[in-house]
Symmetry: C2
Subunit: 734 residues, 2 copies
Amino acid sequence: MRLLFLYTTLVISVGFSFQAKAQHPCTYNSKEEARMIQKALPTNALLNESFLSIKKEVDEWVGKDIDVPTPKDPAGGYTHEKHKANYILLFNSANLYQITGEIKYAQLVKNVLIKYAQLNPKLSKHPESKSSSPGRLFHQALNDANWLVYMGLAFDGIHDYLSQAERKQIAEGAFKPEVDFFTKDLNSWFNLIHNHAVWACAGVGIVGIATDNDSYVKMALYGTNLDGKTGFLANIDGLFSPDGYYTEGPYYTRYSILPFYLFANALQHSQPELKVFARRNNVLQKALTGALEQTNTDGGFYTYNDALKEKTYTCNELVEAIGIAWQVYGANPALLPIAKQQNRVTITKGGVQIAQALINKNIGKQYPYHSIQFTDGPKGDEGGVSIVRSNSKEGLTSLIYKYSSHGLSHGHFDKLNINLYDEGHEVLQDYGAVRYIGIEQKFGGRYLAETKSFAAQSIAHNALVVDEKSHYDGNEDESQKNHPNLLFSQIGMDSAVQVVSAMDDKAYANINMHRTEYLLKLPKMNKPILVDILRVLSPDNHQYDLPFQYLGTFISSSFTYKSTKQTQSTLGAKNGYQHLWKEAEAKATKPLTQFTFLNNSRFYTISSLTDDSTQLFFARIGANDPNFNLRHDPVYIIRKKGGNQAFVNIVEPHGSFDPNKELSTDAYSTVKSIQMLQNDEHFTVAEITVGTQPLLIIQCNDQVDKKAQHTAVVREKSYVFKGAFAVYVGGKPL
Amino acid sequence: MRLLFLYTTLVISVGFSFQAKAQHPCTYNSKEEARMIQKALPTNALLNESFLSIKKEVDEWVGKDIDVPTPKDPAGGYTHEKHKANYILLFNSANLYQITGEIKYAQLVKNVLIKYAQLNPKLSKHPESKSSSPGRLFHQALNDANWLVYMGLAFDGIHDYLSQAERKQIAEGAFKPEVDFFTKDLNSWFNLIHNHAVWACAGVGIVGIATDNDSYVKMALYGTNLDGKTGFLANIDGLFSPDGYYTEGPYYTRYSILPFYLFANALQHSQPELKVFARRNNVLQKALTGALEQTNTDGGFYTYNDALKEKTYTCNELVEAIGIAWQVYGANPALLPIAKQQNRVTITKGGVQIAQALINKNIGKQYPYHSIQFTDGPKGDEGGVSIVRSNSKEGLTSLIYKYSSHGLSHGHFDKLNINLYDEGHEVLQDYGAVRYIGIEQKFGGRYLAETKSFAAQSIAHNALVVDEKSHYDGNEDESQKNHPNLLFSQIGMDSAVQVVSAMDDKAYANINMHRTEYLLKLPKMNKPILVDILRVLSPDNHQYDLPFQYLGTFISSSFTYKSTKQTQSTLGAKNGYQHLWKEAEAKATKPLTQFTFLNNSRFYTISSLTDDSTQLFFARIGANDPNFNLRHDPVYIIRKKGGNQAFVNIVEPHGSFDPNKELSTDAYSTVKSIQMLQNDEHFTVAEITVGTQPLLIIQCNDQVDKKAQHTAVVREKSYVFKGAFAVYVGGKPL
C-alpha cells in the first residue's frame, strides 16, 4: 500500500509552550462539564437512556476479571474483538467514573490498564499481520492507534484516582511501547498524510496530554521531526480541501472524522489557544457537514472509493462528531434530523445540548440536502465532486459526478464517474469495496482481493473505459499525480437546469474525455431526466466502453440481443473484465437504443444515441470469484469504436409499479429521438424529443466564460446565449 | 391449462326459492348499513380517511366523459388498465352514492354502464387472448369475471336510481353478453372447481341478485347444470379442506377469498337463509385465518406454488375480506394488527366496527401466529402443510413443511419441500412464480415460461430430486392424483421439541421418501436449530440431489471446492437444471460437511452428514433466461448416489453481524459432529454434538402410534420412550 505525502504550508507556532501539568481530566469532559452532565441526566430522557445504555454495558463487567489476552487472531477473532471491546469498555467506564464519581468504574479502568502495562512491553509484531504497517495488539497498526486513542481518554478520565506510581507504571508499560513503536519503528507510517496517521497522531497526542508528556504531544501535532510537515495539523491542512472535502471520500471521512474530532476536542480542552477547530476557516466543521451532504436519504454514505454500503450516519463515529461539533461550533438545527435517527447522544456537554434541542422541536424528516460542489486537494485545485440534487413530491434525485483526484490508497480508477440515487435507492451504483468488515472467515475482515481486481477498476464504475484498460492503466501512483478539471457548472436545487461539465486528458494517453451532466426538470414531468453527454477526442482509433451499473430488473430493450444458453464466458481477461459474465450482446440500431429496467417500484429508461457499429452488452458481476465475495449485480455496456466519438445518454425515471396493487403506470419511456446535430471544437448540439417536447441542448466547447455571448445556428435558426451552455424546450429557454 | 373437477357431496336444498324482487341495494351495503356508516363517518378518523381517499379518487372523474375503449391491449396496456380502473371506479362511486345520496355519483355509474351496454354486445374474443379461457373485455376470462363482480355491485348500488328501461338496457347490453359467454361458450370453465370459477360464479351471481335474475343466481350457486356438482357452493366444498386450507396455497387463497367473501356477503344480504358463511363449520372464516397464518411477519404470503413475493396482507383483497369477516363472524382482536397495518378500512358496517376497535386499543405488533397444521383436500385426507414456529427474543422462526396435494394448475413439483423464515426474512426460500404482474412489457403481465421450466420444477425447491427429474416427471395430471402422507407430528410454539414427519412413495416410481423435520430449542441457544432427516428407500441405484435454496452471502465452507473461472456451464440440460449455472463443485469429506452463509445480519450453517462419495455444488439461478426474467439467487446442492440413502442436515442460525458497528458475534457453527448410528426399518438414530451438548434423536420407522412404547439400544444403552420419536440432550429427554 502506497500512501501519499502531501506538501503542507503549515508554519509552526514557535512561541507555543505546552502546559505540562494540565488539570485532569482534560481530554474528553472537563470536571465542570461532568458536573453539568450529572445535573442534566434526571431531566432529559434521551440523555438518560444513552447514559443508562452505556452504564448497562459497563456494569456487566464491573467486579469481573477482564481478559487481556495475548494477541493472536485477526479481525473477527477472539483476541482482536476482545482488545477492541476492552478499549471501548475502559473509555465508557472512565466517563462513568467522571459523571457518577463511583470508584468501581475507576477501579475497572485501572485494573485493565495495569494488565496492559504488563502485557504490552512483551509484544512484538502481531502474528496475523499482513500489512506494511503491522500492529502489536492487533493485526494492523491502525487498530493499535484506535486502542491508543480510547485508552488515552480512559487514563485521563481516572488520572486523579491513580497514584503517581500507577500512572508511571501505565504510562511506561501500557503506552510507551505503543508510542515508541509508532514513532520509531513505524516512523514513516506515523508521518503520513493519511487517515491512519490521523489516528496514530490522535493516539499519541491524547496519551501525551493524559500523561503530561509534552514530547508526545509535540510529535503528534508536528510529526516526529517536529517540522510540521507531518503530524496532526499537517493532516488537517493536507487531507481536506478548503471547503472540507476529504480526499479519501465520504466513507473514510466518516472514519477519520472521529480521531480529528476527538484529538481536536482534547486539544480544545487542554490548549484552547491552539484554536484547532477554527483552523482553515473551520475546516473541521465543513468536513462534518460535507460528509453529511454525501449521504443518501437512508443515511448511507455515498460509496465511491473503497466503501461499504451498510455504513450510515447513525454509526458511532458520527454520534461522537456531532456531539463535539454542537459543543464547539454551536447549535445547528440541520444536525437534528441526524441526531434523532441516531437515537442516542454522547455523554458530553454537546450531547446534553443536543438531547435538549430534540425535545419539543419540530425536527425535519431528513438532513436539509443541497446541490453542492466540493473542490478536492489542500488548495482546492485538484478537481472535485458535484452532488446535483432535485426534489419533487416523488422524492429526492441525487446525481454524483466525480472529477476528483485519486483519493490516496482507497481511491478507484473512476475519472468522470457518475452515480444516481432516487431517495435512498441506488439507480446507477458504485460497487464500493469488496470487504466483509468484522467477519473473520472473510480474510479476517480485511479488504479482499476483488477490491483491487474488480471494484477499483474503471469497468466497475459508470465511467469510460478505453481498450479494456483502467484509467492510468490501473497505476495508483500515476493516478494520484493528476486529476480532471471542472470546466463549467450551474447548480441549485430549485433550478430547472443544473449542469456540471468536466474534462480529463490524463487518464489515457492522448485521449481527452469531456463529460457533461444535465439534470433537467422538464415541464409536465414528475422527475428530472439526466442527459449525459460524453465526448471523446483522440487522434487514434480505440474501443470505448461506457458501462451503466444499473440496479434493478430488466424490463425491455428496443433491440434484439443474443443471449447465452448452456455456457457463458467472461467479457474479458483482465482489468475487472474477468469478473464480468457476458450474458448477452447485441448490435445497436440507428439512431436510438433504449433499455428499460425497474428499480424499487420505478421504471428507468436509458436512451442512447447509437449507430449500427455500436455494440451493446448485458453483463453480470461474479466471474472468477473463487471465494464468492462478489455481489451478482448487472451491468449494461455501450461499446463504440473510433477516434473522436460521442455518447449521448438519457437516464429517465418514469412511472411506477405497485406489485401489491398489481398496477404499473407510465411504464414506457417518453424519449422519442436523440440527434447529435453538431459536435466539434466549437459546439455540441443535441436535439432530443421527450414526449411531444423538443429539447435542445447547445454546449460551447471552446469557451466556458459565464459572461461570453455565443450564437449557434441550429437547423437554420440562430440561438444567442450567454455562458457555456443553453437548454431550450419548444424553442424557449428552460 | 388443465383444471380439476372435484367430486362434491353437496345436496341441493330443493325447497329453496329465490326472492326474485329483493330490496336493493342488497349485494354490498344495505340501506340500513349505509345510514349507519353515514353516521359514523364524522367521529372516526380512520374510517373518514378511508372514505375521503375513495371520494378523492372518484371525484376526479365526476362530470367527465369516461372512456370505455374497444379492447385491444393485454395486462399493463391501456385498454386493459382502463377497464380495470372503470370497474373499481364504478364500484366506489356506487358506494359513495349509497353513503352520501349525491346524484352525481349515481350518474357517473349509469353513464359508464350504458357505454358498456353499447360496447359489450359487439365484442368477441379479445385480440390478445392466448388462453383456453379467453376474455372479451380483457385477454383472459378471469379479468372479465372480476369486471362482472364489481359492475354487478355497482349496478345494485344505483339500482333504485335507474329507470326500469335503463336497468333493462344495462342488464341486457352490459351483463347478458358476459354472462352468456361464461355460461355457454366457456361453460366447462365456468363449471370448474378452481379460483377462476369462483370469480365467474361470483360475477354471474352478483349480477343475478342485482338484476333480479333468478336463473343467473341459480347457475352461480349450483353450476350451469344446476346439479350442485359445480358452482359456488361446490367450490366452497371442493377447494377448502375442513380446516380451511385452500388447495392452491396462500397466494391464491388471498386472491380467491375476495370473490368467496363478496358473493357470500351478497348472498348473506339477499338470502340469509342460505347461511353460506356458516357452511362447513365456518370454513370461510377458517380460510381467512388460515391464510393469515401463512404469512411471514412482514405480511408477505408464503410463496409456495405459483406466487409473487410482493403480495402482503395489506392488499385490497384482505382489507375487503377482513371487513366482511368482522361483520359476519364478529369481533376478532387477532385481526387488529393486520387492520392497523392496512391503515384503511372498507366503507361497510364491518369497516366501521374495525375502525372503532382500532381506537384506544393496545393493538398487538403482529398477528398472533401459531404452530399450525393444515390438512389438504375437501375431506382433509390429501396430505397437508405444517407451519412450525418458535419464538425467542431474537424473533420468530417459521418452518414450512409441505406434504400437500399438487394444488391444481398453480401447484409445483415440491413434495416434502421445506422453507425457513426468520421473522420476515426468507432463509431457505421458495422461488415463487416467474411473473411481473401488471407490467405489459413482461408478456403482458402473464406467467412467464420460466415458471414452468424452472420455478415449478423440483430442483427449484428444497426438495429431493432423483435422477435430475422432477416429481411425477413434471406431469401435473399424475401429480394431482396423489399426495404424500403425514406420519406423525408434535407441534406447539412453547414446546422445546416440535416434529413433523411425512412420507411420499408416488412422486418417483419405486422410491420412498421419508422426511422428518425436528425444530429444537436446545438449552443455552438463542434460536432453535432445524434437524432435517431425509430417508430415501429404493431397491435400485439412483442419483439424489437435495438442494438448499439459501438466500444470503457465502461466508465459509468446511470443504475445498473447485470453482469456475473464465467460463461456466449449466448444471444440467432440463427439468430446471438448465436454468442453474454451476459455479463450483466439490467432493465432500467424511463424516461432516459445513457451509455457512449470512442472511440479514444473522449467520446460518448447514451441517450435513456426508461421506467421500457425496458431491456438493454451488449453483446460481439465471441460465437460459433470454428475457432476463429470473432472479440470480444461489443454490447449495448435496448429491448422493445409491439405493437406500439418508440425508441428515442441521440448519443452525447463530450469532449476528452488525456492519454499522463492524461487529460479528458467534460467527462459527457449534455443530461438532453428526453420526447416523442406525437407519433401518425399525429405527433411525442420529447422534449430534452441538457445542458440548450431545443430542440424540431416535425415530421409530415402523410404528407411529403415539401410545406405543419402544426400546432402542444406542451405544449399549437402552432408551425407552413412547410414540414415534424421542429427543435427548446429554442423555435426558429434551
